[in-house]
């Protein structure tokens, strides 16, 4: 039987093509593979499910053995967030034309270029910065690259990194910066913000996040920018764009590079497969030169008034220069960039402000509710956006008890600390349900 995915496996087509080429068998084309490298048996794989229905049954059997966050009440965040995804976002990113395209030219893939240009442009408005990359893999990669950019730009090899950062992200930074860049950790103050820091002329950058790993909004951005600049270093800020309808963008307090993950902008949690990273700077040529990612720009065509798009300053990249380019560039997360653009266009300035207000208010409500339920809320006086940490006798025991009530209560940061995430998807009654369950379980 000819497989539905392989038209020319049909024996007649195969024979006629061989005849046209003048070959006896497909084996001839493999003549360069030495016999001792040939696999002399079929691969040992499960029997195929060629009938689509059989495959569907098999996959459904596997996928049904999961309980997702629409079937439980989830307060899990810590880098992947349950925001509402407007249906139009899914509609656009599931269009065959976008989903199955790759790397065409600005002509036949005009739509991709325009959609990505619009994405970076809307991010630019949100960030108040003029240069934003076509998405890199994720916020981890974005932070690593932002710090490498700062080092290349300043010619220095030491960075000060907030310790109010996810352990996994720090692991990635350590690996990624390992060969030549030293990471110095800045302490966390009692209020949950970055603590006192001391710089010297060896530092390329200060890196902080807001909201940070504890959901705390940093309030000393301007001070840290001034401090960094006074030492010839850059301020690099990791910021979640969904907060920027209400929180000041890093550029407003002097950050030189902003970076982060855009998963919160209209992209499902996808079991962690929805991450995509942004990096942004002002339009300062020497800093722009350090971007490894592709940058899309608008350009005139030979018809007056018509816009086209293309790569800005392509010769920075490893596509152009191999190891002489900046880091590397490959297939990263462009479709999520298009999706985030759709999200920002749907939300507009009002939607972004409102979602921020709602999250701020509900986060505070949840902190109060869990405190009343008997948990110890950490950094209670700080401003929290979307996340906060609570101290409990046993994080594992509490989570198990909550899970028995179909509640995913939070991400354990350690044996006694739980990170709780609240978004615009969580109604007041959802939060009350959590608080009640926590009270009962503690």
């Amino acid at each position: 039987m000819t497989h539905p995915y392989i038209p020319n496996a049909e024996p007649g087509a195969r024979a006629s093509m061989l005849a046209a080429i003048g070959a006896e068998s497909v084996g001839e084309f493999y003549a360069d593979i030495p016999p001792d490298l040939r696999l002399d048996r079929p691969l040992d794989l499960p029997a195929p499910l060629v009938a689509e229905h059989d495959l569907v049954r098999h996959m459904r059997g596997l996928l049904d053995r999961t309980t997702d966050t629409t079937r439980a009440l989830s307060f899990l965040g810590h880098g992947c967030y349950p925001h509402h995804v407007p249906a139009v976002c899914d509609e656009v990113n599931s269009r065959s034309e976008f989903l199955t395209a790759y790397a065409g030219e600005p002509y036949e893939d005009h739509g991709r270029f325009q959609a990505l240009f619009e994405y970076v442009s809307m991010m630019g408005e949100l960030l108040e910065m003029d240069v934003v990359n076509v998405p890199t893999y994720d916020g981890f990669q974005a932070a690593g690259t932002a710090l490498r950019m700062a080092c290349r730009y300043t010619g220095r090899s030491k960075v000060l990194v907030t310790s109010a950062i996810a352990a996994d992200k720090l692991s990635k930074l350590r690996d990624f910066l390992a060969p030549d860049i030293e990471i110095v950790l800045a302490p966390v103050a009692g209020n949950g913000e970055i603590g006192e820091v001391a710089l010297d002329a060896g530092y390329a950058a200060v890196y902080l996040e807001t909201p940070n790993v504890y959901g705390v909004v940093e309030t000393r951005g301007r001070e840290l920018a001034d401090l960094a600049h006074a030492h010839g270093a850059l301020l690099v800020v990791g910021a979640d764009p969904i907060s920027l309808g209400v929180l000041a963008p890093p550029a407003a307090y002097g950050a030189d590079i902003a970076c982060g993950d855009i998963q919160s902008l209209g992209i499902h949690q996808n079991h962690g497969g929805g991450q995509a990273g942004y990096i942004a700077t002002q339009d300062h040529e020497p800093l722009v030169a350090e971007f490894p990612s592709r940058l899309f720009g608008i350009a005139p065509t030979k018809v007056p008034g018509e816009y086209g798009f293309g790569d800005v300053f392509y010769d920075r990249t490893s596509f152009a220069l191999r190891e002489e380019g900046k880091e590397w560039v490959g297939t990263a997360a462009a479709l999520w960039g298009i999706t985030a653009g759709v999200y920002l266009a749907l939300m507009g300035p009002r939607g972004m402000r409102e979602v921020g207000e709602t999250i701020l208010a509900r986060t505070r409500y949840a902190m109060d509710a869990l405190k009343a339920a008997g948990a110890t809320v950490l950094h209670e006086d700080a401003i929290h956006f979307r996340e906060f940490a609570v101290r409990v006798p046993s994080a594992g025991a509490l989570l198990d008890a909550l899970r028995a009530r179909d509640i995913y209560g939070g991400v354990p940061l350690d044996d006694r600390t739980l990170l709780v995430c609240v978004t615009e998807r969580h109604s007041i009654s959802d939060i009350d349900r959590l608080a009640t369950a926590v009270r009962e379980a503690l």
Partner: protein, 494 residues
Amino acid sequence: WDEPIIFELSHPGRRGVAVPAPDAPPVELPEGVRRENPPALPEMSQLHVLRHYLRLSQENLGVDLNIDVGQGTCTMKYSPKVNDTFANAVAELHPLQHEDTVQGVLEIYWRLERMLAEISGMSRVSLQPGSGSAAIYANIAMIRAYHAARGEGHRDQVITTMFSHPSNAACAKTAGYEVITLMPDADGYPDIEALRAAVGPRTAALMITNPEDTGIFNPRIREFVELVHGVGGLACYDQANANGILGITRARDAGFDLCHFNLHKTFSTPHACGGPAAGACGVAPELEPFLPGPVVSFDGERYGLETPERSVGKIRPFLGVTPNIVRAYAWIMALGAEGLREVAETAVLNNNYLMHQILQIPGASAPWDKRRVEQVRYSWRELAEETGVHSEEIGVRAADFGVHYWTSHHPYLVPEPFTLEPTESYSREDLDEYAAILAHVAEEARRDPEFVKGAPYNQTIHKIDPTALDDPKRWAPTWRAYVRKHLSGSGSEG
């Protein structure tokens, strides 16, 4: 469609989606923390946002729409629609859910890992990397950790070849290695004499593709591996071009210590305008302790997560790009061992058939008179010399007929290159049509070179003036930069 930039469609006061009201007391923010000026995002109703993006989508090609054999090295193949439904089923899973609540997904990871181990001959596989380049990087990170663990941190050179993907060189460089690049010899193979000269006590690894992006399979690949092993280096196989050799030959059988696959190439996950993708790193037993964490474990009853002893840490957040893991698994399950071999053989047949057709076009050639596996880097050198029309221009003109191609990575060692990889997804008629279009454009180039150079004629826009994109005074990587530099009249640089 003549679709404006989205900012031009904005009308104050409109909105595309409404947000749940706070219904809890508002939170006061101190000055400097609260945003002062609302972002100048577009304000549009929902239909108008949708219409804009649907029109843009129609101004895009994709595997589903065109005969996408022209993006050589990218393995453009059919990504079955049914697999998207499986991917959508994990949309609302959080990556840090308790293992008990995601057993089905962990089982898919586990089973896919076993399949890729069998396909590559390796013992374990990490599915964490977000793409092929990220997998290359992960492999280099493991190589670095491996040597460091053995007290051989002095090894600071990575050897690669010019027809391997640039990420091999660039990732090695990023990881702190000096990069040595082997050039092709007169036969188009990476120069084994150059390798002999390059290997030594400083050699950390060889990073090599086979077949290389020329489509030529290097029959002495085992010798390459052995040369590197001989000096204590590791051999790492970039299997981006695995589509033609599935079930035919395996990485481990040639002695490699590490390899990677691009799941969005060989294993059919969609290219998504350039990601999200997925990569898989396969390793031999001695490298298992260094795999990125976590990996999926199985005790015979229950699937869990564990981090290898000397793990290089995270390559990306969480476990991997799960929607694509699910798709790749489903794709292999739909094909099985026999099907994968049919994929390989048909991809190779298609490639050789297309080569046969292309080489009948006057002016087209395929440098080095060698057999090809799954793709060919062709050259329009003769045609360019005759007409002055460059390969890129021919590709743009071909787009007027609904197809396109990619030239190749820089540097253009093959002059006036174009790289075609027809994969198993295309029919004979598709290949004939594609070749006929190129033949037609080549004929046009001969008849009226200026006409071809003026292309496109049949696309949304006309020929772009690229000079503005490389000039810092004029480039506009965002609309706000464009407004500032080109519309506001000030023209000053920020």
